[in-house]
Symmetry: C2
Subunit: 329 residues, 2 copies
Amino acid sequence: MSERITLGHGSGGELTGKLVEEIFIASYGGCRVRRLEDSAIIDGLSGGAAFTTDAFVVRPLFFPGGDIGKLAVFGTCNDLAVAGARPRFLSISFVLEEGLLLDDLRRVCESIGEAAGLCGVEIVAGDTKVVERGAADGLYISCAGIGTLLAEGLGPEAIRPGDAIVVSGPIGDHGSCIAVARGMLKLAGDVSSDCGFVGPAAEALLGLGVRMMRDPTRGGLATVVVEMARASGLGARLDEAAVPVSRQTASVCDILGFDPLYLACEGRLVAVVPADRADAAVAVLRSFNGEAAAIGQFTEGKPRVVLATRVGGQRIVDKLAADQLPRIC
Amino acid sequence: MSERITLGHGSGGELTGKLVEEIFIASYGGCRVRRLEDSAIIDGLSGGAAFTTDAFVVRPLFFPGGDIGKLAVFGTCNDLAVAGARPRFLSISFVLEEGLLLDDLRRVCESIGEAAGLCGVEIVAGDTKVVERGAADGLYISCAGIGTLLAEGLGPEAIRPGDAIVVSGPIGDHGSCIAVARGMLKLAGDVSSDCGFVGPAAEALLGLGVRMMRDPTRGGLATVVVEMARASGLGARLDEAAVPVSRQTASVCDILGFDPLYLACEGRLVAVVPADRADAAVAVLRSFNGEAAAIGQFTEGKPRVVLATRVGGQRIVDKLAADQLPRIC
């Protein structure tokens, strides 16, 4: 079975139809995709909606704990969840490289179907383009998502001095997993990506008066907290010793010189909660992941982030200009 | 000014922020994009909505009459319009190749802003990924769109034997334009793409009891009518002499051996209307483009498309297995 993608699969003709029928519909198509119309008719969005999009170019396509398909679905659904919305509808568009193994595409699509099931979303629209060999790297996915809004008023304006910063589990596992999967180092034992859906944890926090949530993907935890500080106009303190990092990811960082604060997560959320709800928030998050933790707080003062280091010092945390690791998602 | 895209522009860090601020927001960002949140909050979708996505990989990026940015906005809005919806919100995600000229990206984004203005849509969400030199061809765009539904019950089930098929203007100009822009032949004078928004024409037809509409992009007019016939279970007849084709596109087809019936349009619609509304439909469409025409009808019998040729013969029209011209959109 070494059938491969040809330019004809992107023609909109019979070969495209075959791809849609035999791979997309077989893997994740609901009744709306079956109609093969240009647009899907959706409903039930009367209470306000959230809309998001992400492109996925991760290399390699398959890695321990996930693949580009799962990443696309979870990444898009997580963006909706942290906005206080329940994901409902997704669209998936592919750019495929001529020569891609159909079996690899099928595996990615099955993964998309499985992840969509976990998130409770329906994939209702799609598109496929094929480019010549050498004009892409296997396949790229763009995913857009619509969710129904469960809560309003989340955002940096809601953050108050004294609010606690909590994280839903160990950070940086996706980043370190990709580094290992690219052969940047040999490690005894796998690092598995944290690639997953944060929706249930996010919904649980809505009941606790959460001020704002984000999922720390590209740029990691540090970038998210810096952006929150800038957007709220408040300072923030992070306690390095309180930030959960897995043993494997800590090893990868030691060896490769990465800072885990900047490594991507793909199944974690960072939330800001009123100080008196911090314990309750951590308790709720620990019901999903035992390593959830309170890691800092917002403060009066300049909109910058100060890290209290493990050795008792302090340093300013800023966004990186560029990346520790490109094509992480 | 030969600044170029680097991998750092896709990092999610400071360089990404600069790109968003100086190019995306400057070109097309409304207040929602300004918040730089993971999701945009949208509303007013209570009456039912249409949702669609398309990926764009057209080569070259710029061509007479348009570019990849315009194509993305018009293509996505047209998919909504032919579904009986008024386009409202778009998301734009980019895959950029390292080394792309920032000026080229800026030009594409300005084009996106201009086209969005013409279509009356707001761009509310976006994402940018950068891949290494050689892992893409300049830039690819994925666009998803949401529209409010103006009419229900459009679709192949609504088509009846005797219904007329109308087209909103000359076909194939986008396809022939791309062929010329790629240097496949030298032509005296440009062929300009028909790249444009069909929304106003589509809305005008809603008042005339239109049964179904499609925009004939990849695969052209022939593919759309074949799909309509298969989905409705009815036959269709097309009258070759009645199908409008510009002089320039006819020349390109003569020289390169293309069949205009399969060449992509990017600013036309094909509509099915009750027989007694055909004249009115053509009259309405001619108020937008003087060459709109009635080109055939649906019939009882096998779900296949018969073309009455210009020379008095008949032939079966089917979908092509592959493409006359890859990467047309």
